[in-house]
Every structure is written in C-alpha cells, then in structure tokens.
C-alpha cells in the first residue's frame, strides 16, 4: 500500500527537469547568505570562508546522496548502509595506500570497481528476493544489518584507532580571500564530474533508459524486454560506486574510524528528502544547501550544534514541503 503511494506519485522519473524550484532555492540561499553578511554580526572574511568550505563539502554530500536517491528511485529501497559503504570505500582506499603504497587518487579509481561489485552482490544475493516481493521493510532491515556488519567488521580488522592517509597534494588556493585546500577542491570537482557523468548516463545511454524505465514502472519495463533484476543490481552497483568516488576523494582530509560514515546515512537522507526522493537534481542542490547550512551554521552553533540546524531544515521540509523540492505532487 505504501509501495503504491511512494512509488506511484513520487519518484516515477529518476531525472526531473524543472527550473522553478532551482530559482526559488537559489534566491532563498542568496538572500539568507546576504542576511548573514549584512546583519549576521560575523567577520565577513569568516563568512566567505565558511561559504566556500560549505559548497566544497556540499559537492561531496551531493555525490553520496545521488547514490542514495538513485537506489531509492529505482528499487524503492532506502539504503541504510549508504554511510557505512562510504566508510568501507575509505578503508579500501586506505588499505591500498597503506599496503602497496598506491597514490590516493589511483586507489580511488581502483575502489570504484570494488564497491560497484560489492553493491551488485548485495543486491543480487541479499535484496533481490525481497525487492521482488515488494516488501519495503525487509530490504530496509537487511541494509541495516549490512550497515552494522560493515562497521563492525572494519572495527575488527582495523580497530577503532583513527587512521589517515595524509594529503598527496599539499597547499591551498584562494577564492575571494577564502582558503580552499587543493584536496577539497579536487574532491568537489571530482564529485561534480561524476554527478554530471551519471546524469548523462541516465539521460543518453540505453542503460540509463532502462534504469529510468524500471524506475517508472518495473512491470512495464519487464514487458518490453528489460532485464529488471539486472537493472536492479546495476543500479545498486552504481549507487555504491558513486559512494566509492565520494569516499576516495574525502580520504585525504578525513580521519578514518569505522563509524566515520555513519552520520552520512542520515545526512544523505535529509538531503534526499530535501531534494525530493528519487530526484538526482534535487540531491545535488540539496547536498550543496546542506553543506552550506552546516558550515555557515557552525559560525553560530559550534561543534555538533550546526547539525541541529540541518535537522531543523529537515523538520521544516517535513512540515512545509514533504515531497521535497523536486518531488512531484
């Protein structure tokens, strides 16, 4: 029953075109930021700095969220393990760097197929039977189990002590008087490139067409010859691979612990709800907005306080626009 409501009127198309919400969001964000500048009572250099950091962070958030929204749009499954898959890819990169001494960004490239295969296997061996019966609690519980399993197996292998791979490209770059380290810029650019590439794949290739077809109507797609199970597995694989990219790009400036990715599950979920479940564009915009909220908010609420603002946005979305920015309703 909920299956019908969430999949029927919600994310029928993975990629949505729409300029109206984008303008609204852009105007709102600009107005709010201008307000922070004008009456925020903070040093303007500090504000610029947090805006730049926020946008760079938001790019990576967007990538994690795209994976989540894609899996949701096609399979109707909220992947609770998204955050720990991020952790897992970071540790894959770490193992490749610390072991054979492969450079971080090459290791990231190697982590992509690993995570892609992992995602496909999860879908094929664990979720397929449950998704085809149409239950949504089953897959959610399985992904919860996977999340716990990944975090604790990593804990067993690497212990809880923080690990770091060090930054391969030192130095930083100045934009409008704000400092942005190269590794963060690379992460942002990489995330954007992968996001664009994914959008192109979804819009222009026959694989993308079949993914969109399955998202719109799995039964109909099967009738016209789409191998639905294969599309499911590939989608989960793509979702995992986009997380691998995000994880690899973040590794240089992240202190690795087995629970480092956990908060990303909920952040990505908030972003996806903000953007509209199943919408890739929404996830991208949502990622940037949440990145900004977190860093600019940190000016006023230091520590974990800025995350409260992120949840405040979430509650507001639930109240005012539960279908999200780009959700159809």
């Amino acid at each position: 029953m909920t299956e019908a409501t969430t999949r029927g009127d919600g994310p029928t198309r993975v990629v949505r075109v729409g300029t109206h919400p984008t303008t609204v969001v852009a105007v709102t964000v600009v107005v709010l930021l201008a307000a922070v500048f004008a009456v925020g009572g903070k040093d303007s250099g500090l504000v610029t700095q947090s805006i730049v950091t926020g946008l760079l962070l938001g790019g990576v958030y967007a990538l994690v969220s795209i994976g989540l929204t894609l899996i949701f749009g096609v399979l109707g499954v909220v992947n609770f393990a998204q955050g720990s898959m991020l952790t897992m890819s970071m540790y894959v990169v770490y193992a490749l760097v610390a072991g054979p001494g492969i450079p971080v960004y090459v290791a990231t490239l190697l982590a992509i197929p690993v995570m892609f295969l992992f995602g496909m296997m999860v879908q094929h061996f664990l979720l397929n039977r449950l998704t085809s019966t149409g239950s949504h609690e089953g897959p959610l519980l399985v992904t919860l189990g996977i999340q716990l399993l990944i975090a604790n197996v990593l804990l067993m292998i690497f212990t809880g002590r923080p690990k770091s791979v060090g930054t391969p490209v030192d130095g930083s770059f100045e934009v409008f008087g704000a400092i942005a380290s190269y590794s963060r810029i690379i992460a942002f650019v990489g995330a954007v490139l992968v996001g664009v590439a994914l959008t192109l794949v979804l819009r222009r290739t026959s694989l993308g067409l079949s993914i969109r077809a399955v998202a719109a109507n799995a039964q109909g797609a099967a009738l016209v010859g789409v191998n639905v199970r294969r599309v499911y597995a590939l989608t989960f694989g793509i979702g995992a691979a986009s997380v691998a990219v995000a994880g690899g790009l973040m590794t240089p400036f992240t202190s690795l612990t087995p629970s480092v990715g956990e908060q990303f599950t909920i952040l990505a979920f908030v972003i996806v709800v903000l953007g509209g479940l199943g919408s890739v564009l929404g996830a991208t915009i949502g990622g940037l907005v949440i990145g900004l909220v977190q860093t600019v908010g940190a000016l006023y609420l230091p520590g974990t306080g800025s995350l409260i603002l992120v949840f405040a946005v979430f509650v507001m979305v639930l109240f005012l626009r539960p279908q999200g920015l780009y959700g159809a309703k």
């Binding site: 067993m156 909920i266 609420l301 279908q323």
Partner: protein, 353 residues
C-alpha cells in the same frame, strides 16, 4: 463469513450450539496463561543466577521491554520505527532529570515519561503520516528525529550536555526511590513485572477495537478507511502505546545503571537494540520480541566469553571488538531473508499447518 446462498444444515442438532466449547475463542486465555506461567518461571531466575549472569538477564529484560514496545507500532501498526532511541531516551532523561534535579520518585517519572514520550511520538508520527509518507521514509524520519534529539541533548545545558546524569546512590534500600542493595533480586523482578505489563498491554491491545483497526490499516489502508476506520487515529494510538512502553524501559535503565548519557539514551545503537530482538523473534507477534530478546540479550556476553578463551580456529579474533554486533547483524540479515516471520512466527506457522 456466512453466505446466505450456501446450503444450510436444516436440522438443529447439526448446528454446533453457541456455547459449544470448541467454538469459544480461547486465544486470549491461552496467552494470559502463558504470561502467568512465564513470569512465574522467570521470577525464579535470580535465585539460580550469579550476580554477573543476573546483570545480563536484567539487560535482556530491558531489551525485551523496548522490543515489545517497538513491536506495538512497528509490528501491529505497520509503521517501522528506526528511531526508538528517541522514546527510550525521553524516558531515561525524564527519569534522570526529575530524580537528580528535583528528587522525584522514579515511579512517578515512569508515568510522566510514558505520557511525554507518547505525546512526542504522536506528534512525530502525525507529521510524517499526514502526507501518507510511510514505509522506509517513515523509518528514516524517525531515525532522523532520534539523531536530532541526541544532538539537542548534547547541546543543552539543563541536561548536562555530553556529561549526562549520575544518580546518587542512597545509603539504604528505598522502594519509593527504587534503590536496593547491589545484586538484589528486586532489580530483576521489577523489570520482569514491567515486561509482564508490557506484554499484557500487547495482548489486550491486539484484541481491542483499536488494535484490530490498526492491524486492518496496516494490512490494507484503503480498504480499512473505506470501512469507516479513522486510519490516522488508529495508527496514532499504536504509536502512543509503543512510545509509552519504551519510555518506561528508559526510566528503569537510568535507575539500574545509576547513570545516563546522550549516547546511552539517544544513540542509534539503542534504536537497533529495540529493532533486532523483535525482528529475530518475530515482528507482529506477541511473543516474538520476548523470545528475540532472550536470544540477542545474552549473545554479546557469550561472544565476549568465547573471545576471552577462543578455540584454536578462532584465535585470530582474540582481543578484537565488534564481533558481537557483527554476529547479530548477520543473524538479522539471515532471519529477514530466510524466515521473515522470525523465530516465533515461523515455529507458530509450522505448528498450525
């Protein structure tokens, strides 16, 4: 269902009389008998267990109360909560705050916490269900709320931020303050009684009008509302009961451990501890959560014991942490895929057929 067109037995003696014992619904009576016998048997446990084993048993009981609470809304109401830590935490913190800052008896806190938690739960559920956002969306929304409460508590001075509350240890036993000598069997009997009440609530609720409505809404919302059931009301009642029961577990937690901090109350691990026993035992059954807790509760202790002196082929695991959670995560995945009705649900179905 009686079908008027079907041939009816014509003679009176072929019809079973209305008071025929075979037609009596003995379900409720059987559940109550099991409950009474179960409580009687379990109450002997503290006499057999050592202090260490008793603390494991008490933790298991707290798990079980949470799982029974979780099951009320998630199993019978069909609304999966991934954020029951929110309600457990409200209980734990209400108890701690009222006791430490105002010296109010935990027994009163249990009532206050249950009401408060039910109100918060209803508000959250109403917000989520208003636009028919159910299923996974609902689950993650509750999770988000639990995380939000965690962050808020960590940043609130009045709740001691990340330090939490320490309960003062009294010099002598006190019923009103729920404190007894360390290792006293009362520490076991009280949560056992709470669990018994929680199970009793489940039993009565399932057969009540409100419970039947909630199950009808869970199984087919459109059909239920077309029969005139107020679906929102039916669901919110389930949520209120569920959150209330879970909060009481929280109050007892603070009381038993003399301490509560944000992570112990609102951490995501707490939500998981409410879900896993219920899923493993059997979602939407009366006894599933209790059986599941009995399986999961002692598991981490068991794993810890094995790891202290591992057999040869497991020696590489010595000194690692995380195995206990990894084991029950694996168990969770296997149960969901292989026997989605859980241990109790599967056995019951076998028995019937």
């Amino acid at each position: 269902m009686t079908d008027t067109t079907a041939p009816r037995p014509t003679t009176a003696h072929e019809l079973p009389a209305a008071d025929d014992p075979r037609l009596k619904d003995t379900w409720m009576r059987r559940q109550l008998v099991v409950l009474v016998v179960g409580v009687a048997v379990l109450s002997l446990l503290p006499l057999l267990l050592g202090e260490q084993a008793q603390s494991v048993a008490i933790r298991t009981l707290i798990f079980a109360i949470m799982a029974v609470g979780w099951n009320l809304m998630s199993g019978f109401g069909g609304m999966f909560s991934f954020g029951h830590a929110a309600f457990f935490g409200i209980g734990a913190y209400t108890g701690a705050y009222l006791l430490v800052d105002h010296g109010i008896s935990p027994w009163i806190s249990m009532v206050v916490a249950a009401v408060l938690s039910a109100a918060v739960g209803v508000a959250i559920a109403y917000m989520c269900l208003r636009y028919k956002l159910a299923g996974s969306y609902f689950a993650l929304a509750t999770f988000a709320f639990a995380q939000m409460f965690l962050l808020i508590v960590q940043n609130l001075d009045v709740l001691n931020k990340t330090e939490g509350f320490n309960v003062e240890i009294l010099p002598s036993d006190s019923w009103s303050m729920l404190q007894f000598q360390q290792g006293s069997p009362l520490y076991f009997w009280i949560p056992l009684a709470i669990l018994a009440v929680a199970v009793l609530i489940s039993i009565l609720y399932v057969r009540s009008r409100a419970g039947q409505y909630a199950q009808a809404v869970r199984d087919d919302e459109v059909a239920a509302s077309s029969l005139g059931i107020d679906t929102m009301r039916a669901r919110l009642i389930a949520v209120a009961l569920s959150c209330g029961v879970t909060a009481v577990a929280g109050v007892y937690y603070t009381q038993y451990y003399f301490f509560v901090g944000p992570e112990q109350a609102f951490g995501s691990a707490v939500s998981v501890e409410a879900i896993i026993p219920a899923v493993i035992g059997g979602i939407g059954t009366i006894w599933g959560p209790v059986i599941g807790a009995a399986v999961v509760g002692p598991l981490s202790e068991l794993v810890a014991t094995v790891l202290r002196n591992p057999p040869g082929f497991l020696s590489f695991l010595q000194g690692t942490s995380g195995l206990d959670v990894a084991v029950y995560a694996t168990l969770l995945i296997i149960i969901v895929i292989v026997m989605p009705k859980g241990i109790f649900g599967t056995i019951r179905d076998r028995w019937r057929s």
